[in-house]
């Protein structure tokens, strides 16, 4: 038995771990207390990483669907050759746009896959690329596309006086808001330390979450009205003149108009709709505005709710009007270690509105961060049209479970001429595929943290080699994409180099090239077994460049103004109405991890406030039927006194598609597209959904 040091790649937190390896199997994983980033922290998913690799559901060879519907093993390189040929054929017949790709979270935690797959895709020349981002956190992209970005950097958590967390439970999700990296690393101890040095914490969440338990002020609203709450906070800040005039004058347009737009969101109105006592909202807004340092960050609770784009926009407006960004001359924040050290400037990068420029789909969707909204994928496949998607490559995702309206997705996938899933297990999506490519998994490959740096709170980097051998029938994801490119005659250019398509480089070489322009040489990082904490950057936020100095953040462009008006006018919940909210289980990362032993109860219970259970005459552990306007599921009821009355909480990404499956309920059955679907990213409402609840027979 040997001990190996590495880091977990199930989520962005990249926790350092020590693994006990025996007979090429990871028998135990313990957090690495000497890792300067995670300091020993791991979550239940991470500790079961060994099970993920060696569990019974792990695919150890690639598969090809046979005429009778069964799967037979296939060499992955042979599969790549066949798939490449078929893709070439389909593209020859129907054009490049008839090929699509869906990327999942798992692709993000593997630094080589993303770049090689992207280079191949560029050669394919199709716009039809989708990812889970647009059913998750893409509201943040929309905000930046409509408001623009301040390029001096956000204020950090480490020296903040106050922090507001909305719709996120980082002590469980290990994620205090995408792109923040707030409370992502060793979250509980970090929060404890921050509170000990005096940080005031404001939490907005309909459940008294693990994080809310630590809060100085916990606003516990009726779910689904985040836009109104943020508007209410802005209204207090702007009408009481608590905002940072200097920052606004210099960098923002539309402060007055914004003040007018949120004027109707009085504390009384917020109280009437969300149940947050007016006094508490005032207290929270004033505490936040007093600062002087600290930000609002939001999580899935906001990004998946009704009016998510507006809610996110208004949350960002709070940060802007309070000027919670680094000014010229302040120390620049940048965790860059392996990344090149780019200067931070006190300037605004103007709104890009990428979706209004350039290519548009026949359904009117534009490109957002290079992607199309996932919620248009089914239409792209099913609706007749010249550029209908006929072939789809799914890389590290399970869209059948992750997207609303699974029935339609199933129909769409069934109608494809070619479906390829790259997946470590026979997921619901993979089961439908013509080819399932079994990739290597983390711990079986070397990697480094370069692509994760943007979420690290410190200049940290780690490189790891493989700690176990991959099963012989698997292939590195990047190598599969490389092979596709080779077969399809597509040249690959990564890290500024044209690859020799007849002699693929090794993973080590590719990793080296990727980190080639870093602030700290890879060799130095690799020599630090527990990861390296680099010396802080000396750089200061530089003055605006000439080209950018006149740009300003657009707080309230026309479309946003209209959406704000609509969101603020939404009525509250009816008497006794119940609403669905999302909940994170520590053991589950999106659709990954449902099969772990010993996690949770092995099913996905519906949690209710005990008062609601009494009112509805529902007994603990009894079956209840939850019906939304989109569908209906049966779940086991559990009392949870930490919930706000009126909420039903379930975990997303759970359950099979079979409503009777022992793995329990898939919440997506309850969600779908309707009048509340967002513009730009076509994001449906996934939380705050009104539900009818009855006892099941």
């Amino acid at each position: 038995m040997v001990q190996k040091i590495s880091y977990c790649r199930i989520c962005q937190a990249s926790c350092g771990i020590i693994a006990n390896v025996e007979d090429n199997r990871i028998v135990q994983i313990v957090g690495d207390a000497d890792n300067p980033l995670s300091q020993g922290f791991t979550c239940p998913k991470g500790r079961r990483g060994g099970e993920l690799l060696a569990g019974p559901s792990r695919l150890t060879q690639s598969l090809k669907k046979q005429p009778d519907g069964s799967f037979a093993p296939i060499d992955p390189l042979v599969a790549a050759a066949e798939i490449g040929a078929r893709l070439t054929e389909i593209i020859g017949e129907s054009g490049a746009e008839s090929a699509g790709m869906f990327r999942g979270t798992q692709q993000a935690f593997n630094s080589l896959t993303r770049s090689i797959a992207a280079a191949w895709w560029k050669g394919v020349g199709s716009h039809k690329i989708f990812s889970t981002m647009t059913i998750d956190q893409s509201a943040k992209w929309v905000v930046s596309g409509r408001m623009g970005d301040y390029m001096g950097g956000r204020q950090g958590f480490d020296d903040a006086d106050v922090w507001m967390l909305a719709g996120t439970n980082p002590l469980i999700s290990v994620n205090g808001g995408t792109a923040d990296g707030v409370l992502m690393h060793n979250p509980s101890a970090s929060l404890r330390a921050a509170r000990e040095r005096g940080l005031k914490l404001i939490v907005i969440d309909p459940r008294r979450t693990e994080t809310a338990y630590q809060a100085d002020i916990h606003l516990m609203p009726v779910p689904g009205h985040d836009a109104l709450i943020f508007a209410g906070i802005l209204n207090i800040i702007l009408s009481e003149g608590l905002h940072d005039r200097e920052f606004c004058d210099r960098f923002a347009d539309g402060v007055e108009a914004l003040a007018d737009a949120v004027a109707s969101a009085t504390p009384q109105r917020v109280e009437a709709v969300t149940g947050i006592p007016a006094g508490q909202l005032l207290e929270a807004a004033r505490l936040f505005a007093k600062g002087p340092r600290g930000m609002v960050s939001t999580g899935t609770g906001v990004c998946m709710g009704p009016d998510s784009n507006v809610a996110e926009h208004l949350a960002t407006c709070i940060n802007v009007v309070c000027g919670r960004y680094r000014r010229e001359g302040e120390p620049a924040f940048g965790p860059a270690v392996m990344m090149p050290d780019l200067p931070a400037r006190a300037e605004v990068s103007p709104p890009a509105r990428s979706w209004e420029r350039g290519w548009r789909s026949r359904f009117g969707a534009g490109v957002l961060m290079g992607e199309l909204p996932s919620c248009t994928l089914n239409d792209e496949i099913l609706e007749p049209g010249e550029d209908r998607i006929r072939a789809l490559i799914v890389s590290g995702a399970n869209p059948l479970l992750a997207m609303p309206d699974a029935d339609r997705t199933r129909r769409a996938f069934a109608s494809l001429d070619l479906l390829v899933a790259i997946d470590t297990r026979l997921s619901e999506t993979a089961q439908m595929a013509d080819y399932v490519i079994a990739p290597t998994m983390f711990y079986e490959r070397g990697d480094h943290t370069m692509t994760m740096e943007y979420v690290f709170p410190k200049p940290y980097a780690m490189a790891t080699g493989p700690i176990v051998e991959p099963p012989p029938g698997t292939i590195d994801d990047w190598r599969f994409f490389f092979e596709l490119a080779r077969v399809m005659d597509i040249p690959i250019r990564v890290s500024g180099r044209d690859l020799d398509m007849d002699a693929p480089p090794s993973s080590e070489t590719l990793l080296q090239w990727a980190a080639g322009r870093g602030r700290v040489p890879l060799a130095e990082i690799a020599a630090a077994p527990h990861g390296l904490l680099a010396a802080p950057r000396q750089a200061k936020v530089e003055p605006a460049s000439d080209a950018m100095k006149d740009n300003r953040l657009q707080l309230i462009p026309e479309d946003v103004a209209q959406e704000i008006a609509a969101a603020l006018a939404r009525p509250g919940a009816g008497d006794g109405e119940l609403r669905l909210i999302v909940r994170r289980m520590r053991g589950i990362m999106n659709t990954l991890g449902r099969e772990f032993r010993d996690i949770g109860d092995g099913f996905n219970p519906a949690h209710f406030h005990p008062g609601d259970m009494a009112r509805l005459d529902i007994a603990e552990d009894s079956q209840v039927r939850l019906t939304s306007r989109h569908g209906s599921v049966t779940a086991v009821a559990r009392a949870d006194p930490t919930l706000r009355p009126g909420c039903v909480s379930l975990t997303h990404g759970w359950g099979g598609l079979d409503p009777a499956s022992a793995q329990g309920v898939n919440v997506n059955v309850l969600t779908g597209h309707d009048a509340l679907t967002q513009t730009v990213n076509h994001m449906p409402v996934l939380t705050g959904v009104p539900l009818m609840v009855e006892r099941a027979a």
């Binding site: 038995m1 001990q3 020590i18 006990n20 025996e22 007979d23 135990q28 313990v30 957090g31 690495d32 207390a33 300091q39 020993g40 922290f41 791991t42 979550c43 239940p44 500790r47 002590l171 060793n186 979250p187 509980s188 101890a189 404890r192 693990e210 338990y213 630590q214 520590r586 010993d598 007994a619 603990e620 552990d621």
Partner: protein, 534 residues
């Protein structure tokens, strides 16, 4: 947030090696670990990863925000512990490594009993890399778990989960079971030995120690082992029908078992709602006339044998009065002894200061008293007491209808094995009775220690066994699996394996009388066997 260890901790130290920051103490090599009552998490160093909570077999570890009102005191205990002991420097995480041997020889072992020590011995054997252990566990009762099922108090459900954890782990390891088969009655010791390289006796200590005083055989005098067996639905004691018609019950001895018994006697029906107390006991206790329970200690309050966490369980009972027959100041001022001892004294001092509220039921701790004789006309009417701190004092009479002696458990002899009459154990050296014959648990070291204490105890025994095997001292058995199965079948047709126990387990859970209750126990051999046989 931080994690907190609570009442059910059974000191098996399973949480210690999984803690990445080494913040759970004392560890097995700190201080006198054998005497430790529970472990404590350092709330400052803990990074809240929850690894310990997953490793804990009895769900003792909970995040602080999940603490119930009653369990809040455990966070205070932890603070007090670290305030006092300070913080040891972190040791590097070193996971236990064992030698590997691919061509490990097969070792056939029978383990007698399915209590904690038997389970730990089996798990330890399964983890060895130097042998391939083929294990069968033989249990005289048609039920799994030994004292976890039949000793641990029915309102300590988290502790009882230790049995679930054992069962899960053993099932995964492929251990076989033979329930309802008694060694010494159905199969002799010699017969057993003919079929295995080695036998580990983990038979526990089934009886109670006698008081050795006049009147002990009067109706109304019971050993705690029987009374505990009764409320836990032990088939041997299910028909006990103790006399609960008197106003006062006296418990002789103040260890944890005595505290369990007092809690059960004084508890309300609501206190037992979630318990798996045997149905006849539940009914009898509901009609009990007992209003006062006196716990007698031979020595002073500082020497109370029960643990702080069990004392705090009594202290949290809201609807009883508690009288501690000792000046609180005396308890407070005494600064001697270990952390746990001082913690205990401060809990007793708090209880002593608690104002009397005129509740119907009360608990009285009395000290420096020893029982002299039990008197009564055909049944127990009074207990005569002497003072241990004053030899000249006149005996004192205490009227009572029930006397429960809780002065320790005692092992029983088994034909074909040596027996140490004085200590009530099988004489052994580090678990070795003879090469090929081993003991572990209470029958090895005497009736003390909690569930987790048996872990190291079993490891020591298995070490001795493996050493004998390695040295060639364990001849190959003459009978194989088939021969043993034939023998077992010839002796009894109503034995069964793990599947049978799983049927019982499911049946009992399914028949719980309320959603809050874990299970409704079957209490007769006939019923258990019938369900097991499906």
């Amino acid at each position: 947030m931080t994690y907190v260890i609570t009442q059910s901790c059974c000191v098996d130290a399973a949480c210690v090696p999984v803690c990445p920051v080494d913040c759970i103490h004392p560890t097995t090599d700190e201080g006198d670990f054998a005497k430790v009552e529970m472990l404590y998490i350092d709330p400052v160093a803990c990074v809240d990863c929850g690894a310990c909570a997953e490793a804990c077999p009895v769900d003792a570890i909970v995040p602080d925000h999940g603490l119930t009102e009653e369990d809040r005191c455990f966070a205070d205990f932890a603070n007090a512990y670290y305030a006092e002991t300070g913080r040891a420097p972190r040791r590097p995480v070193l996971m236990a490594g064992r030698p590997e041997r691919a061509d490990a020889p097969e070792l056939r072992v029978a383990i007698v009993g399915t209590g904690p020590s038997a389970c730990y011995a089996a798990l330890d054997l399964l983890e060895r890399r130097d042998v391939r252990a083929e294990i069968i566990m033989i249990e005289r009762l048609p039920a799994f778990g030994g004292l976890v099922r039949y000793g641990v108090a029915p309102d300590h459900q988290r502790t009882k989960r230790a049995a679930d954890a054992f069962q899960r782990q053993l099932a995964r390891g492929g251990v076989r079971f033979l329930f309802n088969m008694e060694i010494g009655r159905d199969i002799s010791v010699a017969e057993l030995h003919a079929h295995f390289h080695a036998i580990i006796y983990a038979v526990g200590a089934p009886g109670g120690r006698n008081l050795g005083i006049a009147g002990e055989d009067l109706p109304g005098v019971l050993s705690a082992s029987r009374f505990v067996g009764w409320y836990n639905g032990h088939p041997d004691h299910a028909g006990l029908a103790p006399d609960l018609s008197g106003r006062r019950a006296v418990i002789v001895g103040n260890g944890n078992v005595a505290l369990d018994v007092a809690r059960i006697l004084l508890g309300s029906e609501a206190d037992l709602a979630t318990s798996d107390i045997a149905a006849p006991a539940r009914a009898a206790l509901a009609g009990s006339a007992i209003e006062e329970v006196v716990i007698l200690g031979r020595r002073g309050p500082a020497q109370t044998a029960g643990t702080a966490s069990e004392l705090s369980a009594l202290a949290r009972m809201e609807d009883i009065d508690i009288i501690v027959d000792a000046p609180p100041a005396l308890l407070d001022q005494d600064a001697s002894g270990s952390f746990a001892e001082r913690l205990k004294r401060s809990l007793l001092a708090d209880m002593a200061r608690r104002p009397l509220r005129g509740h119907r039921k009360r608990l009285v701790f009395r000290y420096f008293r020893a029982p002299l004789a039990i008197e009564g006309d055909g049944h127990t009417e009074r207990l005569l007491l002497s003072r241990t701190d004053d030899a000249d004092a006149a005996p004192e009479a205490l009227d009572c209808g029930l006397v429960i002696s809780s002065i320790g458990y005692r092992g029983a002899a088994l034909e074909g094995l040596p027996y140490d009459e004085a200590r009530g154990i099988y004489p052994n050296e580090g678990g070795r009775i003879l090469p090929g014959t081993y003991a572990t648990g209470w029958i090895k070291r005497g009736p003390s220690g909690v569930i987790g204490s048996n872990r190291r105890c079993a490891a020591e025994t298995v070490d001795a066994l493996i050493a004998d095997f390695g040295a060639g001292r364990l001849p190959a058995p003459s009978g194989d699996d088939a021969a043993f199965a034939a023998l077992a079948g010839a002796r009894r047709s109503d034995h069964f394996g793990l599947d049978g126990w799983e049927r019982i387990d499911r049946h009992e859970r399914a028949n719980a009388t309320s959603p809050a209750q874990v299970r409704a126990k079957l209490t007769s051999i006939a019923e258990l066997v019938a369900v097991a046989k499906g």
